[in-house]
Symmetry: D2
């Protein structure tokens, strides 16, 4: 949609119209009392709005169509189910992933894995390669950590998700993990998105802390356009002016995504709040809002954790959280089921 | 907490210490390897951190103590119950307020009031004086709107909350309304906070869209310090970079406030999302997070509304929302009850 | 601009078209490969976009035209000159306003007034009624402060600007002050904007810390639509996630406003940074970006100030700042003068 | 700094004290009327604040010391000079880098390179590997683009900076470029920071759009801790709620960085505004605020650009911008020189 200045001449209008045609698009001119607006129709997704901004008479350019395609619910109305071993994201049951922020030692990981399994988690998380804001912070155990994760999977049966930080790490991490996590800081690391996409394993795509929902869906589009549709979106809080929590949980993003895309959506209440006291209420909120699952940091002794201890739950608190969110998931499932005969949409509305 | 520069001289340290004493406070000097830090103890709430910032050697000043007092849970550990006629905020039951954005006509209001009552609302909302971003938008019916609200209360029995925009309007609005709303744009309108506080009626205090939780609690402190403790806090979304919704619902604010203050907390999912499709999931999320209630915009024919039609629910959708949130409230109540013997805190954690 | 869903039926299109006509507007339907878009032409400023959002088939509504009118440069291409006694905002010379955050005593104010005059300030600022975030902070001297300001004007000849916080204070403050300041917290206090607008005195309108440029211009529109065009816009920093400064100076807002409106624009580097060390560089930046002036906090002994000491300049530093910004203003004036023959726009671009 | 709850018992205090000692740090207990605060002294940079948050009685943990070290001006008070061929960043002269957003063809690049050289640019920019938000946008010419850049350097003598997107691209890009750019989306791509740091070439480190100044300095710390101190910091706008520009130029970041670090700081007014009309005023502002240089997008025919045409300057407008910013740089240099005898700090304050 190209908006012209009030004093644009007819010659200038024709110039813009010609340029639109030159790019293989169709112009529709609307002449109002105050301004002329030119609607641009066609494969506008491939054209930069900026190309029109320098033409004489052009005041503003407003993109209308969604820039993503494969990820959109318009393109694929049914929920995509993402399967990781015996676990399914996007179906009628919620999925709870839990584990330590970092894999710190074999014993810490195995102890936590057993505890979260007993508490009701269906998948295990744990960082082996850790992207840390400071070079002086613990950077993870690397491949040793991956081995411990594989061992924990053997003994508990829980599939494992862990972060991959660079394209050349993808094959290594994929050898051990059941699902690859792209972290918030790497949401727009396109070589990594492509490399992970080509690997064919399911991917957990965290939202960048300064990224809009549209940019996040475009990051997913990078993976889908490599032929891999097994992508789970994970909200983990955004940057705002509020300082009483580490990030601001964008709870709106859950129904927004359920409407915009067919991909499953989960929430990470540990990072989105940054304080263990708020993890359980926000986990409940996410499920109530329609999320397909949660990823939660659990540590047997948070006060000894090498990273993010302040936002980790102890196993017994996590077990209580699981009971609460499953009860809420049951309610949401019931209300959605009740709505189906009335023709309810993807989110039970 | 005053942090000195690494190369501060002993004379400069003594100067800061002397200035702290002069203000009636007690200094505690900690000498580290890299820096000296001076803790300041006493009624620091009354002192500007800036007074130290110009002293030689001072690098930074970090306030530690909470600047609010009466509103804090430390000061008053028990939940405050706010009573508006037969309705109680902050107790075991959630409170649902509903009604049109603006009172547009007698028939529109009465129709809506009956509909929301039937659907399960316990209070009626409706704007008579409307703070509109543009001077060309509908500005409300004024006193005529207040009369219609009073009539709607008569016929339905629902207590009424409506916004007051200026100190001199307070007596007029208080004559008709059961609860006075201070809107987001006026959260830091201190003459209004004081005038409303002195009136003695219960107050619904909306959060400013650019206000931190601390500033919001300090706005409440203005009302409490006038002797009026009947204040309900209402989250209504904050300003962030995300544009897929009108505002970003700060769902974290609910457990943060439940921990920080004894005042009841409710959420306005209509303004915090700006799209009717997202109102119900976010209403569920708020109750799941521990909110004490909701305030929701309902309009019998949203496509004809003079304001905010895009975010208003139709009565039948609202009725469905009420059923869903009450089912979730029941779950939250049960888990909190189950926790009490184990010494659960204010938010069931 | 109404965007329809991909699967909208022809009947739904006609329904939307009919609704647009019903509101006295003209619809233009553009049929693209992927979607239909309906342009709406006419006095769209008076219609809520939300009224279309509930119609079947409507996916989104994107407003195109600017919602403000009198304040726009389109409506009035020439710079508006705002005159306060001998001082003119919006002309070829920049205007520097300086003084203490709060009027604390007669001697403090007179000493500061003399100092800032000598350093080159053309107007005096000072708060008598202070909107403070905390009820426990110093709230200003009230009318006594206004008397001191009037006395300072007598002895220095500097016109005075001071804040007015409530509609009923307007006549009192207008009796003493040459220009009325509407503070950031009151930018959307519409009864105050109208009352101040009707008074006929020049107005300094600060931007709200969570307000967009468009909302700020609409706040000015409230004043202009009362018949008072003597309005100066004052950027004072916005709320963002960055915490190394008190606020984030939105320097972009200066050229944005110079293009969007004919009203003068100044910057408050004291509030927009919150640290005296950053005031001078940001003052230089504002003038370099094309601002028409500055408002700066100056205190003879910042370490004793009752408010905002940490961001106040001492008189000698302020004098240095004045020299620097005047040298930069001279450069900007010269480059703009050099551009005029080449048909330079309002901001010398 | 560990803040305890008001009702903490003496046993709990001793537990925290013991834990602090266990981590090799020294505790300083300050007992106030309302609370106890424990200052922690030592190599706190290596300890997670979260480790204390789970201890009984702990209310909050506030980090005091700066988490970065090598990049801090405390550690290295003198300005670091970064040399790229004949060009020096951080000295008395500003450095202007210019060129197209993307290298689109040999002729486009050579034409632009000649034009920007003639207009006064000292370095050439141009993207060969482009990180694009959408997978459907032009992704750059890759190695072919690098070859054109090398050729443009040969014929103009301008050193070249271009972006590197993945660790495995570093050797390739370093073969052609004189300076490696780490883009905003990769600011926290730590494998890339390390790989680029080890290469030993000068690095242009753009700020992430959601990154705080502290996180940005920590990203630089990753590079410096690989032994490479040749790093130039580049502000390019942050994400805020304001939508009238593409990003919000954080002009405050310039004096903040000049005080916090010894590294040179430049600004990218093309990305920080997103509109060519605002580039020149914001370029002037950056230099006035004390920036060491600029990086600006220039395109001979912006309306044909394959990326970012809307924010590119035409060569003649760029030439005018260079004249304006050099005149302002001259003023800033003079005022800083005049201040030196008076003991001016790093930024002439």
């Amino acid at each position: 949609m190209i908006i012209l200045k009030p004093d644009t001449t007819e010659d200038q209008v024709q110039l813009v119209v010609a340029r639109v045609r030159e790019l293989g698009l169709t112009p529709h001119v609307s002449r109002g009392k105050e301004r002329i607006v030119i609607g641009v129709v066609g494969e506008a997704r491939r054209v930069e709005p900026g190309v029109f901004r320098h033409l004489p008479g052009v005041d503003d350019v407003v993109p209308i169509s969604r820039p993503y395609k494969l990820t959109s619910r318009e393109f694929h109305p049914e929920n995509t189910l993402v399967r990781v071993g015996p676990v399914t994201f996007g179906g009628t049951d919620i999925v709870i992933i839990a584990g330590p922020c970092s894999v710190e030692s074999r014993s810490q990981l195995l102890e936590t894995a057993h505890a979260v399994k007993e508490a009701g988690a269906q998948m295990l998380r744990g960082g082996a390669f850790k992207p840390r804001t400071s070079p002086y912070s613990f950077q993870g155990l690397g491949e040793k950590g991956l081995e411990y994760l594989a061992e924990a999977r053997e003994v508990t049966g829980l599939p494992v998700v862990t972060e991959v930080m660079a394209p050349e790490q993808v094959p290594l991490v994929a050898r051990y993990a059941d699902m690859l996590q792209i972290g918030a800081r790497n949401m727009q690391n396109y070589p990594l998105l492509k490399a992970a996409g080509r690997m064919g394993k399911p991917i957990l795509l965290k939202r960048g802390m300064g990224a809009t929902v549209t940019e996040w869906l475009l990051a997913a589009e990078y993976i889908l356009s490599e032929g891999n549709w097994q992508v789970v979106m994970c909200e983990r809080g955004i940057r705002t002016f509020e300082t009483s929590t580490r990030n601001t949980t964008d709870i709106n993003a859950i129904p927004v995504l359920k409407r915009a895309t067919h991909l499953p959506v989960i929430l990470d209440p540990s990072h989105s709040t940054g304080h263990w006291e708020y993890v359980t209420p926000i986990a409940r909120a996410a499920i109530a809002a329609g999320a397909d699952g949660l990823i939660v940091e659990v540590h047997p002794r948070p006060e000894e954790a090498l990273s993010d201890g302040g936002q980790s739950l102890k196993p017994e608190r996590f077990a209580q959280m699981v009971r609460e969110v499953r009860a809420i998931a049951q309610i949401v499932r019931e209300v959605q089921a009740a709505l189906v005969p009335a023709g309810g949409g993807p989110n039970g509305r």
